[in-house]
């Protein structure tokens, strides 16, 4: 009986299984045809030359480290920057969501700073922190701060009033209300904010690595490759950036689907 169910599930998946591949394959075919037609590797290289770069992720490129080395550098920066941003945003969001006085005090400042793109902070970051890890972390932290903050705020506000009141009548202290009702109740929304924030952080790190004076990271690598007209390296680097971003988002979403199922099922 159980085996049947599993078999059925597998069969049901099969016919649709290849749908996702149709557009990417079409895209690659069009690319290859265009590359042949243009016939200029400095504008659009053939698939094969990009594939060669991707197939040798550990070999150094133009004397500035391999794809893997640079990806690791970028990932380290994004993790540190995101951690700083989220570590500031979550407590502030909880405080703003829980105490309206904090909200009224801080909100005007948030409204003014939020529309400034993280990259507009680059010159100031350079002036304050000079070239190096600190300014990159600053930019990345800023980029992830706002989505995490706003989702945390939203999550805390969406916690049902009777969840809090039930806890209070069961004897919860203010601290217990925060840690045992508000945080777990808001966590699915906070997690969504972290996903969005991490996505933006990943975009920021690539851009931040294009700042003058940087000498490693995927953003640096593709800009450096441009200076040597190595378009196949630029594209290979972009593909790696995209795949890492997709991989991280998928991981975070899987976790969300597994752990926070109650949000959808709660009627």
């Amino acid at each position: 009986m159980r085996e049947n169910v599993q078999k059925n599930r597998r069969f049901r998946g099969t016919p649709r299984g290849f749908h996702w591949a149709v557009m990417p394959i079409l895209f690659l075919v069009v690319w290859e045809m265009a590359a042949i037609a243009i016939n200029n590797q400095f504008i659009l290289p053939r698939l094969g030359s990009v594939a060669v770069v991707l197939a040798t992720p550990f070999s150094p490129i133009l004397g500035s480290g391999s794809l893997v080395d640079n990806a690791i550098d970028s990932l380290q920066r994004v993790v540190v920057g995101f951690a700083v941003g989220a570590a500031l945003a979550v407590p502030l969001g909880v405080a703003m969501g829980r105490w309206s006085t904090v909200d009224r005090l801080v909100d005007p400042l948030i409204q003014v700073f939020r529309p400034i793109p993280p990259l507009a902070w680059v010159p100031l970051a350079l002036a304050w922190f000079k070239i190096g890890l600190a300014s990159m972390v600053f930019i990345i932290a800023l980029g992830s701060f706002f989505p995490v903050l706003l989702n945390t705020l939203d999550g805390v506000r969406s916690v049902k009033r009777t969840w809090i009141e039930a806890a209070m009548t069961l004897g919860a202290t203010e601290r217990q209300v925060l840690t045992k009702v508000i945080l777990p109740g808001a966590l699915p929304t906070i997690w969504t904010g972290m996903r969005v924030g991490f996505g933006i952080a990943w975009m920021c790190v690539v851009a931040a690595e294009m700042m003058p004076g940087t000498n490693s990271g995927l953003g640096y690598l593709i800009l450096y490759a441009y200076n040597f007209s190595q378009v196949q390296v630029i594209i290979a680097g972009m593909i790696v950036i995209g795949l890492i971003g997709l991989g991280i988002d998928t991981g975070l979403r899987r976790f969300e689907e597994r752990k926070f199922r109650w949000r959808e099922l709660e009627r």
Partner: protein, 253 residues
Amino acid sequence: MKKLVVDRVSKTFETDTGEEVEALRGVTLEVEEGEFICILGPSGCGKTTLLRIIAGLDTPSEGAVLVDGEPVRGPTPRLGMIFQDYSLYPWRRVVDNIAFGLELAGVGKATRTERAREYLELVGLDEFADAYPYELSGGMRQRVAVARALATEPAVVLMDEPFGALDAQTRNAMQRELLEIWEKTMKTVLFVTHSVDEAVFLADRIVVLTTRPGRIREIVAVNEARPRDRTCTAGASLRRYVLGLIDEGRPDT
């Protein structure tokens, strides 16, 4: 000593537009230990406000609430509250929902789980200990909420239209079960409802409120033995009498 005393409680709200609304005026009520009281009234009569004040979730503008002679100054585990929307924590299993109050009080994991299972058995849901609330029907969820409120052994149980969201059959079954639980635990119960039928079936005494500002219209004693027959003539005439009280309490339209 009376178990619960509501002493000349009045409540005036200020709306967003700065208007003052008088929700309750001079409500006085004395409840004996083990009594089952229904607070009945038309919608908007302030019955939920009264219950929230008793629970310590709202403060009265005037007057006071005493439990075992001690004034209520805020929410306390001495007063268990059951909400209409069940208010279970969807991220906690049923058994952990019931153990929540004990967890807050610092009771160890083994002890509180054991106690939670006892109350789960009391409400007849022992098989569902490891389920999540969203896997249960409305009636089952409300039984979990009852078990959760009882697990901290409150002096008084307050229920705010707990069966209001349930269909008629489930509602009748829940009323019978609640009476069984009440007889086993001997708790003092204050039960808010807008259903005359429900009040007549459940209560020792029915507190009938008027429309806003809510005042006590009359306290009606129900002297019929339990289990009560929903269709008997004594019940019918009592229902007619109570309905009359509610209608009189309405402003002329």
